[in-house]
C-alpha cells in the first residue's frame, strides 16, 4: 500500500550539468508527474529518485531515465520525481519539456 521509492544512478561520458541551480516542472495530476532537477556534485553521475504508487515497473523506469540522461549527456544532477501513474511516454515527454523550459529560462533570464 505504501508508496514505492526507486533509486537509480547513471553515468555517461563527458557529461554536463544543468544551467540553473535547481528547476521544478510539472503537476502531479492523474497520469502525470513532477520533476525537481538540482545541480549537485555527484562525481559526474546523475542520481534519480522516483516516488510512485505503481509497483513492478522498476525496469521500465530505469530504461526511460537512462535514455533521457544519455540523450542529454547529463552529469552532476539530482532528479527527484513524484509520479502519479504516468505512462513511460508521458514521463519522457515531461522530462524533455522540463529540460527545454530550464534552458529557455536560463538563457532568457525572464520570469
Amino acid at each position: 500500500m505504501a508508496l514505492n521509492e526507486l533509486q537509480y544512478e547513471f553515468k555517461v561520458d563527458n557529461p554536463t550539468t544543468i544551467l540553473k541551480e535547481n528547476y521544478h516542472y510539472g503537476v502531479v495530476g492523474s497520469g502525470d508527474m513532477e520533476v525537481l532537477m538540482e545541480k549537485k556534485d555527484l562525481g559526474g553521475a546523475v542520481k534519480v529518485k522516483v516516488v510512485t504508487p505503481v509497483s513492478g515497473f522498476d525496469k521500465v523506469w530505469e530504461r526511460v531515465l537512462k535514455k533521457f540522461v544519455t540523450e542529454n549527456s547529463m552529469g552532476d544532477v539530482s532528479l527527484e520525481i513524484n509520479d502519479n501513474n504516468a505512462t513511460p511516454v508521458v514521463v519522457t515527454m515531461r522530462l524533455r519539456q522540463a529540460l527545454a523550459e530550464l534552458v529557455k529560462e536560463a538563457e532568457g533570464g525572464d520570469k
Binding site: 500500500m1 505504501a2 508508496l3 535547481n22 521544478h24 516542472y25 503537476v27 502531479v28 495530476g29 492523474s30 502525470d32 513532477e34 525537481l36 538540482e38 516516488v51 510512485t52 504508487p53 527527484e80 513524484n82 509520479d83 502519479n84 501513474n85 523550459e101 529560462e105 532568457g108 525572464d110 520570469k111
Partner: protein
C-alpha cells in the same frame, strides 16, 4: 513555466496554480514561500499509497501590484482535486497570517499608512474542499482559514478569484463566501455541495451532474454574478483577473465591507430575504430566478458573449 507576458494573455481556466500565482501580480515580483525545493509534501498520503506533490497542491507567496504587497494563495486542481490537507492548509493559513502581521507592523511604524501600501490577500480557489485522506487536519485548516479571514477584517482585504476547472466547492465554498470580494469568470463555479455529490446523494432526478449547461447555470460565474454571490465578472484571461484585482485593491478597507456577503446582521437579513423569495417562488431552474430579477429572455443569457452579457444583464437588487 511560461514567462509573465505570455501568461497575461493565457486562459485563466487552463493555467496551473503556479502560473496563476505568478501572473496575478506585477512582472517579476512574485516570491514563492515553501516552494517545491523545500519538499514540504503531505505526511499522510504515503502511508495510503497515494502520490504526493512537493508543494502539496498549493502555491503561496507574495508579490506587488503597484506599491501594494499582495499575498497570493493559489490552489492546484489537478492534484487530488485541489483538496486541502494538513500542509496545504497550513500554507494557506500562514500566508494570510503573514499579511495581517505585516499590516500590524506597518501600521505600528506608520500610523498614517497610506491605503496604496497596505497589504492585500488574493486567493485563487480551485478546490473541492477537505482532502478526505487527511480529513481532520483538512477540516481544522478550513476553520483556521476562516479565523484568519476574520482577523484580517478591517485591515487586509481578502480577495477570492474563481475561474479554474475544478471550481470552488465543499468547505472552501464557505471560505470563499467569507472573503471580502469575489471575482469570477463565467467558467468559474462556486457552491457548497458539488454537483457530483448532490447527484450521488439525492439522485439524477434532483440534480444531473452530467448536464453541463445545468451545472453552469446553477453554479457558474454568470449565475453567481446575477445573484450577487460574486462581485465582479471578468473575461477568461489572467490579465483580466489581474486588472480587476488592481481595481479592487484601490477600494478603501471601509468600503470593502459593503462588498461582503456575510458578516453583519444586515447581511444575514438580506440572505434570509433571498431564502424567503426562493420558498415563495419555488423556482425549478435558475432561469426562473433570472427572469424574476427582470431578465426578459433568461435563456439567451447562458450563451451570450461576455461584453453583451455585461451590458444587458439585470442583477438581484442588493439592499444593504
Amino acid at each position: 513555466m511560461a514567462n509573465w507576458d505570455d501568461l497575461q494573455k493565457s486562459s485563466f481556466l487552463e493555467s496551473s496554480a503556479r502560473e496563476r500565482a505568478l501572473g496575478l501580480v506585477d512582472k517579476g515580483t512574485f516570491t514563492e514561500f515553501i516552494s517545491p525545493i523545500d519538499r514540504m509534501s503531505s505526511p499522510h498520503l504515503p502511508v495510503l499509497g497515494e502520490a504526493v506533490e512537493f508543494d502539496d497542491g498549493i502555491v503561496v507567496g507574495v508579490g506587488l501590484i503597484g506599491k501594494k504587497p499582495v499575498f497570493v494563495v493559489s490552489q492546484e486542481g489537478k492534484f487530488i482535486g485541489g483538496s486541502v490537507g494538513e500542509v496545504g492548509g497550513a500554507k494557506m493559513v500562514n500566508t494570510i497570517k503573514l499579511a495581517v502581521d505585516m499590516y500590524d507592523k506597518m501600521k505600528a511604524e506608520n500610523p498614517d499608512l497610506p491605503e496604496e501600501k497596505r497589504p492585500a490577500v488574493v486567493v485563487s480557489f480551485e478546490t473541492g474542499g477537505v482532502r478526505l485522506h487527511e480529513a481532520n487536519a483538512g477540516l481544522l485548516a478550513h476553520a483556521e482559514v476562516m479565523d484568519q479571514i476574520q482577523d484580517a477584517r478591517g485591515k487586509v482585504p481578502i480577495i477570492g478569484v474563481i475561474g479554474s476547472k475544478v471550481g470552488c466547492f465543499g468547505g472552501m465554498g464557505f471560505v470563499a463566501a467569507a472573503t471580502d470580494v469575489i471575482i469570477m469568470s463565467e467558467f468559474g463555479r462556486l457552491g457548497l455541495t458539488g454537483p457530483e455529490v448532490i447527484e450521488q446523494e439525492l439522485g439524477k432526478e434532483e440534480f444531473d451532474a452530467g448536464n453541463r449547461a445545468l451545472v453552469y447555470r446553477t453554479t457558474g460565474g454568470k449565475h453567481k454574478y446575477i445573484m450577487q454571490d460574486c462581485n465582479f465578472m471578468v473575461e477568461d484571461t489572467i490579465a483580466s483577473f489581474r486588472d480587476q484585482i488592481a481595481e479592487v485593491v484601490k477600494i478603501s478597507i471601509d468600503e470593502m465591507e459593503g462588498l461582503r456577503r456575510i458578516g453583519s446582521l444586515e447581511l444575514v437579513e438580506e440572505q434570509i430575504k433571498l431564502v424567503e423569495l426562493a420558498a415563495k417562488m419555488q423556482p425549478s431552474d435558475s432561469k426562473d430566478v433570472w427572469a424574476h430579477f427582470g431578465n426578459e429572455k433568461p435563456e439567451e443569457l447562458t450563451d451570450m458573449p461576455y461584453d453583451e452579457f455585461m451590458k444587458v444583464v439585470k442583477r438581484y437588487p442588493k439592499q444593504s
